[in-house]
Symmetry: C2
Subunit: 505 residues, 2 copies
């Protein structure tokens, strides 16, 4: 046991960090990454031990203030530090490492201890890695999904026709929800859409919507907006939905893995938590997105449908073409503008955007009984074309706290560079990854006015000197940096008709 004085410190290390001067640890049985309990007369706190030379002095212990819940220690008071029991989950994680199936109770314990921040990043990484390697069966996934939902806020609705649309993995420019949600809401279907901010893409749906209105709503506000309009388009982080998910994602990102059990549970737990009864899951397939081919997409689709059945959620999956951006605009403001233009004048909008928006909405119109099977897409188009979707969209904007705008009122980055074709030829490729990186380099998603507008898409004919795309940024320096990157990574590829020239027979 060590005797120390408490000092408040604030650092997000996943689990609570408890920081001690390395001099105090020398020759003791305490090591960095040990799980320790800090106790005093006024309370106690559990944490993971870290050592420092300078952050706290000899005799001090830095304790976390970020999560004040459960911490009743006072700064400066004398505390003692001792080894704490390992959380129960460790043995279940070990079991999964050994290739065994976990019982419902074991899964629940793991999720509970993730949510209560009892597991260190090392322990979480061991859990994620072992589910990646050894997998989970459907019963395990169902239990994990349910528990992830139950450990956060659970939203319930009086209506039974509550639906959602969800895309797996990012296609740049994926702003279709700004069309589909108001179409469905206008048809009287309840669609409480929560979405993420950009994780790997240059603009998440929440980032795009934030150009037009407030997206940080809590549960009460969300329910009020949905009651008033049938729909909403808000950031999921404002509501405490399936909080284990974010914690798990934070350890998946560094090792670039997304084990299928976690992917399934992550998506479906949020559906359970928001009281969804029907969900359409969009699985983009192609180069530069998560799912590389149709067979893989179909396999994942079947898992989603099976999991949905076991959770009493009717799921339909759609494989969509993800090989190039959706529409022409990438970046928050450009995408908001393109969506608003499409709602205002759908006939002039990019076909890919309209088609995706009305086909996904159409499925839910059919599932919800608003349209006969086969007529959903037609009804969706009618709602869009009649202006009812735009009207509903503006109503949602107002209810979320914004003021409706015309497309031309949306401000774009004032530093602009047009990139032109060096030759006559055809667009043979548009590279999702390159576009994503160029738009991020231009400042998105933080700089909402940063983005890239494609002037041509795959298969289009271009002449030398034609504009291929335009880069926007709010900062001259960022613009230059993005242009330099674009020169190296070729967001758009043009080739002449002659693909190859063979000079010897």
């Amino acid at each position: 046991m060590l005797f120390l004085n408490a000092k408040f410190i604030d650092l997000d290390l996943g689990a609570n960090a408890v920081i001690v001067n390395e001099e105090d640890l020398k020759g003791t049985s305490y090591y960095p990454q040990d799980r320790v309990l800090i106790e005093s007369h006024s309370g106690s706190v559990l944490g993971i031990l870290y050592s420092t030379k300078t952050m706290v002095q000899k005799g001090e212990v830095g304790i976390p203030v970020r999560k004040m819940k459960g911490i009743s220690l006072k700064e400066g008071e004398e505390v003692n530090l001792r080894h704490a029991e390992k959380p129960e989950s460790i043995q279940f994680i070990k079991k999964k490492m050994d290739g065994q199936v976990l019982s419902p109770n074991e899964i629940r314990t793991i999720i509970d201890e993730i949510v209560s921040k009892k597991l260190s990043n090392i322990e979480l990484a061991a859990f994620v890695t072992s589910t990646y390697v050894n997998g989970m069966n459907m019963e395990e996934i169902v239990e994990m999904t349910k528990r992830m939902a139950e450990t956060g806020d659970m939203i319930s609705w009086e209506k039974s026709l509550v639906v959602d649309i969800h895309s797996i993995g990012g296609v740049p420019g994926n702003k279709y929800a700004l069309l589909s949600i108001p179409i469905l809401a206008a048809a009287g279907i309840t669609i409480p859409k929560t979405s993420s901010r950009a994780i790997t893409s240059p603009a998440g749906t929440a980032d795009v919507m934030e150009v037009l209105t407030n997206v940080e709503l809590d549960e009460e506000e969300l329910k009020r907006v949905v009651k008033a309009t049938n729909g909403c388009l808000v950031w999921g982080g404002g509501v405490n939905l399936a909080p284990a998910d974010d914690i798990i994602i934070n350890v998946e990102r560094p090792v670039s893995i997304d084990p299928q059990p976690q992917l399934l549970a992550s998506v479906m737990a949020k559906k359970v938590a928001t009281g969804i009864k029907y969900a359409v899951i969009d699985i983009p397939v192609g180069k530069g997105v998560k799912i590389k081919n149709e067979a893989e997409g179909a396999k994942l689709a079947r898992k989603f449908i099976e999991l949905g059945e076991l959770l009493n959620i009717r799921v339909e999956c759609v494989l969509t073409y993800g090989g190039q951006p959706l529409g022409r605009a990438i970046g928050p403001a450009l995408e908001a503008k393109e969506a608003l233009e499409a709602l205002t004048d759908p006939k002039s909008a990019p076909k890919s955007l309209i088609e995706k928006a009305i086909s996904l909405a159409g499925i839910l119109l059919e599932l919800g009984g608003s349209a006969q099977i086969g007529d959903g897409q037609k009804l969706a188009w009618e709602i869009l074309e009649s202006g009812r979707a735009l009207e509903k969209f503006n109503q949602i904007i107002v209810e979320q706290g914004g003021t409706p705008k015309k497309p031309e009122e949306i401000e774009l980055g004032k530093y602009v560079e047009e990139v032109r074709s060096p030759i006559d030829g055809y667009i043979v490729g548009i590279n999702n990854t390159s576009i994503t990186n160029v738009v991020k380099e231009a400042g998105a998603p933080r700089d909402k006015k940063a983005g890239l507008l494609l002037n041509a898409k795959i298969g289009n004919k271009v002449k030398r000197g034609d504009i291929l795309y335009t880069i926007y940024s709010g900062s001259e320096e960022r613009l230059n940096s993005a242009v330099n990157l674009a020169r190296r990574v070729y967001p758009v590829n043009v080739e002449g008709m002659m693909i190859e020239r063979i000079s010897k027979f």
Copy 2:
């Protein structure tokens, strides 16, 4: 890219920590655990991103000062922060997760990036977990072992007969090396023994030896002592041997796994690095030690021998009884005293200690040609009994910077509690884990005078009121705490002859 001012900070988070105020991260594409590069005109540093509310202010970035190597930034200077490439290892770790065999080059890259602190704890945990689940073949283990050795100091010797004895997993009271090493050194065999401080046990060999002399020697000092005496007994941490090992152990401990490939490489890399040609590996088997049964021990032994062959190190393994402590003394000072008594008067010493010390030394005397096969143990006993081992031991103590002591000069904890048998009966069990915990509670290994002295061992007959064991501590409070723990965990079990009484027919 973020623009910030550098602030020096010191925290050991495995890889370099780069700490930014969470306000600065909001709406950006930077997330905690991202790998980032901090750049300025004067230099750059690679790190893992963490967020804080208070540790650094908005606009500041905390950069690590612990490892000054490669850090040429000045405090307060303007820097920019951007995403850094993932280390090459990540893809190889992913490959191991996918159950594939790694090439020599891939293994080397992983070890190199571990040593240069490029991998975060999450990434390390993914590596360790995936080798635990998917294993490694012998070629992979050989490559890992070699690279772990090469990335640290490599000690070479003019003599070819350089030997070592190594125990896997802790048996409490395992002080035999204080006898075996001087026996071998007295026989003219070179034995540069490096050992660890206590990891899970109450006293590592280095902790025990430190009661008698200095154990923190650097490479030059170690070589000088070995040149003068043929042997040494020093702490491995004073020399930079296979530095990847400590980093890996730090992520294994929290999840309580020790994948066999890592165990093999960890032991053998240090043998390679210290230029060992013959090694005896002691594998204690029994309750409360790492290896639970003989079959498991034999399997591990074969792996050690095979790995040794591929590394040009002749390895012999010995399975020893690890079901109760070795000798009667547990705790640094008590063990040093018991070892010194055994060197002074081996005939009165505990049989288990003498037997282990001379049988392990005997094998190396035979391997080294000092004794005929079958005569090693006899020669070891002669060296011990003649006083030559004690003389050599004192010579080593002097060369390492200490002054030889008589056993009775060793100070023990002045707070003492004798624990007596409540009944007439037999010692039916001595619990390694309970003893370890009681001795740690009494203050070991930090309090060198804390410990436990067994007065009886398994099978001994005791009368009611006989002393079973004595607990020592340098602090009254710790003694009480240890006595309280002992009352709950029963380090020694006594039972009457009548094991069970059946009262109904």
